[in-house]
């Protein structure tokens, strides 16, 4: 068919260990975005993360990320601003 889509290629989903995975940002992020057809229909559940339980999954996300540091530049500027406005009110 007169398609401009790249043909789904089974080879492209096979891991290529020699392929560098941390290239420059642009190179890494420029990619084809289709969710390709899998080259195989089925695989064993034991080979997936689902079989390993939830232990690893727990470490994939950070829930507590609050920042209590007020010594950074941005905080210092805000603090300064609050002081100035406070001082102006008192005058």
């Amino acid at each position: 068919m007169a398609s401009t889509q790249p043909k789904n290629d089974a080879k492209s989903t096979e891991p290529k260990p020699e392929q560098p995975v941390t290239e420059k940002k642009t190179a890494v992020l420029e990619e084809d975005d289709e969710f390709e057809d899998f080259p195989v229909d089925d695989w064993e559940a034991e080979d997936t993360e689902a079989a390993k339980g939830n232990n690893e999954a727990k470490h994939l996300w950070e829930e507590s990320w609050d920042d209590d540091d007020t010594s950074d530049d941005f905080s210092a500027q805000l603090k300064e601003e609050l002081k100035k406005v406070e001082a102006a009110k008192k005058r």
Binding site: M1, A2, S3, T4, Q5, S12, T13, E14, P15, V21, T22, E23, K25, V28, L29, E31, D33, E34, F35, E36, D37, F38, V40, D41, D42, W43, A45, D47, T48, E49, A50, A57, H59, L60, W61, E62, E63, S64, W65, D66, D67, D68, T70, D72, F74, S75, Q77, L78, K79, E80, E81, L82, K84, V85, A88
Partner: protein
Amino acid sequence: MSLIAEFLTSIRGFVQTQNGDELRNWLLVEPNVAAHYYELGQQLRSTCPPNSDNIEKLVEKHLPEEDDVPEGRGSPWPGFNSFMEEYLKYWRDVDFNDIVKLYGRLSDLLISCANALANPTYGIMLLQTSMSLSEALSKLVMSITKEPHLMAQIQGDMTGDEAGEKKSIVELAADIIQKIFTSCLTDRSSTRWSPPKGKKIAVYLFANLTLKLLFACDKSRLAVQMFTNLSTSGPALSLYPASQRVTFLYYLGRFNFDHGHYMRAHWCFEEAYRQCHPQFLKHRRQILIYWVPSNLLLGRFPSQMLLSRPEAAGFGDVFIPICAAIRTGNFVAFHQALNASRDWLWDRGLYLTLLYRLKPLVWRSFTRKTFLLTWEGGATGNDPNMMTNRAPALSLADLVVTATYVQKLLEGYVPVVAAAGSSAALTTLVPPPGGQPKRLMPSEGLIFGNKQPDLDSMESIVAGLVYAGLLNGFIARQQKKFAVEGAKRKGGNAVAAGWPCPYESIMDRFREDYEDELAAADAGETNEPPGEFEDVPGWVKMG
């Protein structure tokens, strides 16, 4: 014997032996086929002109309906013969350079294939052919949607009869494929909860094909009916091969993401990722592209461990700056982080969602920071008397001060180091070069473009955060303060009490909504019970 007769005789043999694989292998429609097919077309053009009924006669002659069919054998049926007539007309008329006509022919062919497939006795032998024709049509439609002049031509042809309800070609193609999907779904060879048999084996193959088409053409909302049908009568997803499960959950996740159901999207992506073989890096990467934003919107950041996985290569450059900006409540950094990856995010439909939907989290951190900088109750340490005397609160006036400062930064004002003790300067900012504040787009400003923060707007922002569960307390309107609740329960830690863990708050809010639904169902206010907490419409789990 003519090539046409030979071809039909072979087809008859496959029908008699119910050989669906061979039917698919022979009933080809793409241009890259053996020369035989073009010869077939040539013969059809010379012997069966469009104004004759020669094709019908040929099909009738070579594909006779048989009377006594032995067990395990098959026979042509009227729907099949109509399909074969359509198939021969396709090769007679096809011109692979005329995409518009090709689209029309291929659509007609798939419609007649879908009709033939619906036959309860023999239809199933066309399952593989239905699949390959559906793939061909959706591939064609996806390529057409990338060519505006072809789109215009096809849409132009559809005026007249259909002018009343004009459907896009994507919609029309999806309708045909969904018809096949429905035919598979309603097959009675197996139940919802037993290993699929008959046409039921292809339910998720056609669902996935439809979804692929709809998402490629930005029409995901059209998938609603399909998910509803699956929820009502679909077979359990777990009964199907891993590739189909993962693909389906990926699209269901994207559907929920597009419709603002980030918790459901997260559940789908989580399961898709977990069930995907680690070898398929590209698929896992594709899942992560949406799973990470789903979690950001739920208040969770990707860990170093996740970002260091090979399938996440380069994602840190996009997401770490966004997370850092949320963490510090720094709106300037937030806009910079999004703009730095704007094209990448935009192409994946993420930019606007993150820009608008992550703002509450930045506001949460920003109000928290303002509280940290202004609340002095904490300075007295653990003195319980101090805690009772002064209830922890964030002054809205202070928030106006810090917000105004940030708004000025967004407008291009430049911070200057004012000399200590300088009496004249009321602000540490100077106007941007050129003297005029930058004109901001609505989304670029803190509130709305160049609107300056004031008490009312800060009150409404804080009220929104309280309502969303991101802040814990209430607005004391007389005092123009946000009063923190529950500090005592947190051992006097007013910050922890007022600004609870966002993910937990969002989860709690989601659970409350679910419990409200349960209560409404118990009270007989709704017909549909809400099911289990983690149910996602369209995702059929074993009952």
